[in-house]
Amino acid sequence: MLSIKNLRASVEGKEILKGVNLEVKAGGIHAIMGPNGSGKSTLASVLAGNPNFEVTSGEVWLDGKNLLEMAAEDRAREGVFLAFQYPVEIPGVSNINFLRTAMNEIRTYRNLPAMEAKEFLKMVKEKQKLVEFDAALTNRSLNEGFSGGEKKRNEIFQLAMLDPKLAILDETDSGLDIDALRIVSNGVNKLRSDKNAFIIITHYQRLLDYIVPDFVHVLYNGQIAKTGGKELALELEEKGYDWLKEAAKEQELA
């Protein structure tokens, strides 16, 4: 589904991604871990088409389509969804109006008719339930004054509504209380299918107890330094990243 080849990207002239390679197949769940500042959010931003980041080389293909040539909105319409690490507050835009607009923009792109209000509201109710998202929040301004956890839940609610092909969750678990973590994870598990894929960026094993990954990658200094199965996450939890840093140093010396 997703194929990232030797991706390099920089921000304000500083190279952050230094040749990332990653293959994601439909139905797959990939966890990306790695120390602070290693470039995880940058990778997510680049995939979503954030214009602040400049791609200097490499390729990204989504089901045969060249993602890097598309504007952010078209990537979303093709089925890329980024659950932001820091969702933006937009006072004055109501959550529900925003979702409806997004939904219809995506549908128009896919040559589908706009959704009837009734059908839309039914879906809202259904998905609210799925991620146990407080209905009162739906009518408020987008993320305005939401607590950290509410913002994260809103991301997952949007994910449920838009039903993307490729969902990238950037530290969605941080800021969630224990119950919320379970709810959000259950939500994701219900949403996963053999037609979609998830990239889950996290620092903690905890989330991966609920959403069991097929692969765990360690992003270090702008590159995938190690890939393994779900047990790699446990190993990292135990050992931290120091050994990785040592290994990288040795490699540099060699």
Binding site: A48, G49, N50, P51, N52, A71, A72, E73, R75, A76, R77, F81, L82, F84, P87, V88, I90, P91, G92, V93, N97, F98, L99, T101, A102, E105, I106, Y109, S141, Q158, L162
Partner: protein, 442 residues
């Protein structure tokens, strides 16, 4: 006197006044006659303002005043039919409609308000009413307001609205001001609204241009409205300003509030009108007065929109709040000048002011100037002004959900305007204004 290219128009007004003095209008009182004379003296001295006058330094008026105006035109017979009026109505507002064409009250097109609790008539027909005699011309500083002085000297007619004491008027009074002319006109309508003690009302004024069947000539409107909000009265006052490029306006609104009254002014202006100058002066002349001034201007093309407001706190324990928001397109020019005056007696004043501008174009210009003059010591005052572009993070967030550039921007503009539109307590008006924003953006 200030020399300028507009001398010919100036001379024309001098001649007009002299002619009128000879033909002196018998129906006008001696007091009004004296007021006109005084106003004329002031205008003769002041002339039209040029850019050396502080309050006019950003506007070069000469291009707007150079035309051959008819200044004392007889009534034109214009066909304003029901369809035009219907299209100017605001859906679901459920209002009484009062129609003014080129500054003149149109009885045939206006609704009659049942009962005698609300009195609406042409101004010229209200001159013998006590409310007229008590308030007319008492509040405008003629020595500082070039245009208001000219209007006072030479106005012919306009609109008079009186809401009697303790009357609560549930239905809004919607005044539709229509401009339509095949002759180049300089119009000087004059209005007086008096809200009786303890009364409560809603006045919605919309300003529109209607195509004249022959041709559309330039029209310059110099209108003055005096509004008296008596003790414990409440007035919600909406001004929705649209219009075509061949129209220019200098509006002067003078509001006087008495003790424990509340006045809310909502001003929304949209692309079209070449020049729009709004002078809005509110005197909080009594204790426990509350005033809210909300403004929204969407400026496009080469439009010039200038909002000059003065909030004058004269007495203790009053609260004023002002929020003006501007959306700037193309080569639009906007000026915001917000003066807050807190007089020595006005202890325990709360006075807030904010002006925010969203620039959609690099060629648009905004001059924003707060002006605080505080002579009391126990006051809470704040002001702030910003000029900014789209929040890139917000824009990206919307796009990352599949919303295209144009739609995303439109959403953010509505959100920006929402601080003002969200304050409109009447849904029908909110919807109407949101619709005008949408139209104005395209």
């Amino acid at each position: 006197m200030i020399k300028q290219i507009t001398n010919s128009l100036y001379d024309q007004f001098i001649a007009d006044f002299e002619l009128r003095s000879i033909l002196s209008n018998a129906s006008e009182s001696l007091a009004l006659h004296a007021l006109r004379k005084e106003a004329f003296k002031q205008f003769k001295q002041l002339g039209f303002p040029n850019t050396k006058v502080e309050d006019w330094k950003y506007i070069n008026l000469s291009p707007f005043l150079k035309d051959d105006f008819l200044t004392a035109a007889e009534d034109e017979t214009i066909v304003i039919n029901k369809d035009i009026i219907d299209s100017a109505k605001i859906k679901k507002l459920g209002a009484y409609h009062i129609v003014m064409v080129n500054g003149r009250y149109q009885a045939g097109l206006s609704d009659t308000i049942p009962g005698d609790e609300v009195f609406v008539s042409p101004l010229a027909a209200a001159m013998d009413r006590p409310a007229f005699e008590a308030h007319f011309g008492k509040n405008v500083a003629l020595d500082k307001n070039h245009f208001a002085a000219l209007n006072t000297a030479l106005f012919r007619d306009g609109l008079f609205i009186e809401i009697k004491a303790r009357i609560i008027v549930e239905k809004p009074i919607h005044v539709i001001h229509i401009i339509s002319s095949a002759n180049t006109l300089f119009l000087q309508p004059r209005n007086l609204f008096v809200i009786g003690a303890g009364a409560d009302g809603i006045i919605v004024e919309s300003f529109i241009t209607v195509n004249h069947p022959e041709k559309n000539a330039k029209v310059f409107v110099n209108d003055v409205s005096e509004i008296i909000v008596n003790e414990r009265a409440r007035l919600q006052h909406f001004c929705i300003q649209t219009g075509a490029e061949h129209t220019s306006y200098v509006h002067h609104t003078e509001v006087v509030q008495r003790q424990s009254s509340a006045y809310n002014n909502y001003k929304a202006s949209f692309p079209g009108t070449a020049l729009l100058r709004n002078n809005l002066n509110v005197s909080l002349n009594g204790e426990n007065v509350e005033s809210h001034l909300y403004g929204l201007y969407l400026v496009a093309g080469r439009q010039i929109v200038d909002n000059h407001t003065t909030v004058d706190h004269l007495k203790p324990n009053c609260h004023s709040n002002e929020l003006y928001k501007g959306v700037m397109k193309d080569e639009g020019v906007a000026i915001f000048n917000g003066k807050i005056l807190v007089r020595k007696d006005a202890q325990k004043t709360n006075a807030f002011q904010k002006n925010n501008n969203l620039m959609l174009s690099k060629k648009a210009v905004v001059d924003s100037k707060p002006q605080l003059e505080i002579f009391a010591d126990d006051v809470k005052c704040s002001h702030g002004s910003t000029i900014g572009q789209f929040d890139e993070d917000a824009l990206f967030y919307l796009k990352a959900r599949g919303i295209g550039e144009e739609k995303a921007k439109a959403l953010l503009i509505h959100a920006f305007a929402f601080d003002v539109t969200g304050k409109i307590p009447i849904t029908a008006l909110q919807t109407y204004i949101n619709h005008l924003i949408e139209e104005g953006l395209n």
